[in-house]
Symmetry: C2
């Protein structure tokens, strides 16, 4: 007898909860310039997998073994999606990747102008900390909320996502080794995913061993996810991905398939997913199953 809903239903239900919450992250009674609100909402409510926030919710549930716990993690889930969104807005700027489209829509600066896109990113980044700190009102103990604030500023910050972005930029022409490429992805992508899992853990008052296991699971899943993205860019179909394929090739990006070949890249995804599972199973979680299922899904997706 099945004790819980299928993965597809689970992901959809959690995504809807996250999107409902994201629709309310800007307090209605705050005097926020309307155009700024529009610019932030344009990118924040643009859809997407909502992978990071869903992982935060699932991590909380895995630690406690109870689905209700995920509501404690909801502020952290929203915060990480806001950070992810600001980073996309700033990445797309002319001075950075200079992208006109993302997920089939015009990028933020193409609609609102460069100055507003910079400020919308700054606003989302700043407000993410407000939302995360708000978890204290949802009943998360202040010490735990503070730990998450510090984690967020670290994983999204200098030794994390921002640092990874800089390494990527500085290395753009000269990445020749797998180590360099892995270093960049670990910080650009994995760190925020590891944060999501640890934050969910904190919401459920995880102990150090559990937090560590969740973080390592996130690190490996994040890297696998990135390699899978590179593979799909090469072998996926535009129809399923909802974006042009082979864009990495056209942009002469150094990717895993470029450095390792396609088969070896697939092996690396499998290895990382196995390492992720092991880290999770050793973490002493009440109910690790759903997180394992999500990892499996990420490994086998075609979009």
């Amino acid at each position: 007898m099945k004790t819980s809903v299928g993965l597809h239903t689970y992901l959809q239900e959690r995504r809807e909860r996250v999107e409902a919450a994201l629709g309310n992250v800007f307090p209605a009674d705050w005097p926020i310039p309307e155009r700024l609100r529009e610019a932030m909402d344009y990118s924040l409510l643009a859809g997407g997998k909502r992978l990071r926030p869903i992982l935060a919710l699932a991590a909380a549930e895995a630690v406690s073994g109870r689905e209700e716990t995920s509501s404690m993690a909801l502020p952290f889930a929203c915060a990480v999606e806001m950070i992810h969104t600001y980073s996309l807005i700033h990445d797309d700027l002319p001075a950075m990747d200079d992208d006109d489209y993302r997920r089939g829509r015009l990028t933020n600066h193409k609609v609102f102008g460069e100055a507003m896109a910079i400020l919308a990113g700054d606003g989302l980044l700043t407000h993410a900390f407000h939302v995360a700190a708000g978890a204290a009102e949802a009943g998360v103990p202040p010490e735990r909320v503070l730990a998450v604030v510090r984690d967020l500023s670290r994983y999204a910050g200098l030794p994390g996502m921002v640092g990874g972005q800089v390494s990527d930029m500085l290395g753009e022409q000269g990445i020749t080794s797998l180590e360099q490429l892995e270093h960049i992805h670990l910080h650009k992508t994995s760190d925020l995913i590891a944060f999501s899992l640890r934050a969910g853990g904190h919401a459920a008052e995880a102990d150090e061993r559990q937090l560590d296991g969740l973080g390592r699971f996130g690190r490996n899943v994040g890297l696998a996810f990135q390699i899978q993205d590179d593979i799909l860019d090469l072998v996926g179909t535009e129809d399923k991905l909802g974006k042009p394929v082979r864009s990495d090739e056209r942009q002469q990006k150094v990717t895993y398939p470029y450095l390792l070949g396609l088969d070896e890249s697939r092996v690396r995804v499998s290895e990382l997913t196995r390492e992720a599972s092991e880290a999770l199973l050793q973490a002493g979680l009440a109910k690790p199953d759903r997180l394992l299922e999500i990892a499996d899904y990420l490994l086998n997706r075609d979009h």
Copy 2:
């Protein structure tokens, strides 16, 4: 008999403490790309009055009546200066004010390039929260630290500095009323100053009445400071200011002297300084004298 050092010595000593602390805000053992560290330090350690951090320290001392309390406020003092610095870096970008010089030196993007300047700003903003949250280790109770994190994300964020920046940008051509101009400066400038004072108050475990008084003091001092800046741009000498004068006129900026005339602007500065003093004297602080002295100094400065 004098019970404490003169204002000049006080400001210098506090500025040196803040600058020493700012020199150590990036943990030495964090893997931060060297070029990113340089770009952040270039702007963070570029001097300046350090008004905001000094006010945070002075507010803590005013609440407790003891100079030692300011060490509890030092992490908040550093955080606000990091926020102030990131906002200057982003403001100077070509897509924003497009400035080549600040305080007589090339702006961040002129030295490090636009992409790095955007990321250095993002990094400083993100890390400011890490530094602020670190006050828990300096002995500030977690509930107070969380209150400051929420204050910081609000005063520096959507209804505060970022929102003020957006209003400024959107109104640039069409500001015709004093109300509009005041609204912009309240958020662009005053909010971060009000935050500094409240954060210092929190560090000394101020009660609601004290926090409110400190915040109103900061709001009025911040506005007076901005008007004084506008006046000095018009009547100051390049020698004393260390920057070109009459730049507002050349840029056709709408300023207080432009809307009110010079004499009326001076009256407004006096009024605001008096309102600031009143707010402070009604706040029930142990030792408000130093903050009053600083407000007086800001009113009478010629640079």
